[in-house]
């Protein structure tokens, strides 16, 4: 016998998770047909994240892994968050470059000797 101390997840837990995932799938389909406005996408993603968490914790044994492995799993999502947050921060705050006509008064001001010196 080897000296494995691995945790063996019982079929009972696997079956419970299977049922939870199937219920989640049915709920997300029905919820999608109800008009919740902007909350439709929030609810759909909440259910998806919950399903993912169940898969990682139980099917993928995340709950029973070593702390080192847990750190690696968490770091993956941390990097994903960096990509999503920084990219979206750019897309949601960047505005089209102002046209020349919009800049004109500023340019005029800067070219004026007194205002340029005053600044």
């Amino acid at each position: 016998m080897s000296e494995h101390s691995e945790h063996i997840v019982s079929p009972k837990i696997y079956a419970t998770i299977l049922i939870a995932l199937l219920v989640g799938t049915v709920v997300t389909v029905y919820a999608a047909k109800v008009d919740l406005g902007r909350w439709n996408i929030v609810l759909a993603l909440t259910i998806a994240v919950t399903k993912m968490t169940l898969v990682i914790l139980f099917f993928m044994h995340g709950k029973y892994s070593s702390r080192r492995t847990k750190l690696i799993i968490a770091s993956g999502f941390f990097w994903l968050a960096i990509m999503l947050v920084l990219t979206l921060a750019d897309y949601t705050t960047r505005h089209p470059e102002p046209s020349r006509s919009q800049l004109a008064p500023v340019l005029e001001l800067q070219s004026h000797p007194s205002s340029a010196l005053a600044a």
Binding site: M1, S2, E3, H4, S5, E6, I8, V9, S10, P11, Y14, A15, I17, L18, L21, L22, T25, T28, V29, A32, K33, V34, D35, L36, N40, I41, A44, L45, I47, A48, K51, M52, V55, I56, F58, F59, M60, S65, S66, R68, T69, I72, I73, S75, G76, F77, W79, L80, M83, L84, T87, L88, Y91
Partner: protein, 256 residues
């Protein structure tokens, strides 16, 4: 290929050896998370920019097939987990049996995907020269729609065109814009589901190898690292679909 449960020289214990294998698999899966993450990012940015066209595109997918496929894939994750359990508890004959079940479910998923792709081909929804988002609203027989379905389709296309209409633009210009942005949606749809399907095909190949070795009784409580790690890969592919399904199929169903 080393034999079952053998300890390699660089490890002190089998436990350490096994944990290293799991850790390595997770590091690989992180690169996969970021790989798919880039596509999810592209989807988010473009959906934010063209919400109407993405909604019109999403509602053209077959919800029943997508729903059924989600069930099939979740069930395959369960059978995969059961094969890992069978190996861990040295049920040598059950290991390949559960793996065969997983392979059958995985193949069913891919088969349904083929049906869906074919349907999109018939409906002129493959990005390219013949892409036409209005096709089914004008050809109900070719798309197999009944009167109510085609009326819904026409209504949705009409609303889409209105939403895409820039100030002072003609109806034709607005239709071109809707078509272009719906094409963007379908490019992402085929890119994302295609990459996911490619992962499934690779997974099916890995399963075949596991089944072959499993029938030789190779996996038991002492040695089951390949079952465990390919299982991790299979569950990861399942997770990708768990996100693809709501994002691609469900986004605008409440407006349909």
């Amino acid at each position: 290929m080393h034999r079952t449960g053998e300890l390699y020289g660089q490890f002190q214990t089998l436990e350490q050896q096994k944990e290293s294998a799991t850790l390595g698999m997770w590091v690989f899966l992180i690169t996969e998370i970021l790989f798919f993450g880039g596509l999810f990012m592209a989807y988010t940015v473009n959906r934010h920019a063209f919400p109407t066209a993405f909604g019109v595109g999403g509602n053209m997918l077959d919800l029943n097939l997508g729903f059924f496929n989600t069930i099939v894939l979740i069930a395959s994750s369960f059978t995969m987990a059961m094969s890992v359990w069978s190996a861990q508890t040295s049920r040598r004959k059950a290991v390949p049996a559960w793996l065969v079940a997983t392979l059958i479910l995985g193949s069913a998923f891919l088969g349904i995907k083929v049906v869906e792709y074919k349907q999109k081909f018939d409906h002129h929804l493959i990005p390219g020269h013949n892409f036409d988002v209005t096709y089914c609203s004008r050809n109900k027989v070719a798309c197999g729609l009944n009167d109510k379905e085609v009326a819904d389709e026409q209504k949705e296309i009409r609303e889409g065109i209105e939403a895409e209409r820039a100030p002072g633009a003609s109806e034709q210009e607005a239709t071109v814009a809707l078509n272009a942005h719906a094409q963007l949606y379908f490019s992402l749809y085929f890119g994302m589901t295609g990459l996911h399907a490619l992962h499934m095909i690779i997974g099916a190949g890995l399963l075949l190898w596991l089944i072959f070795e499993g029938f030789k009784g190779r996996f038991d409580a002492n040695y089951n690292t390949p079952v465990e790690n390919i299982g991790l890969y299979w569950h990861f592919v399942d997770i990708v679909w768990i996100f693809l399904f709501p994002l691609l199929y469900l986004i605008n169903r409440h407006l349909a």
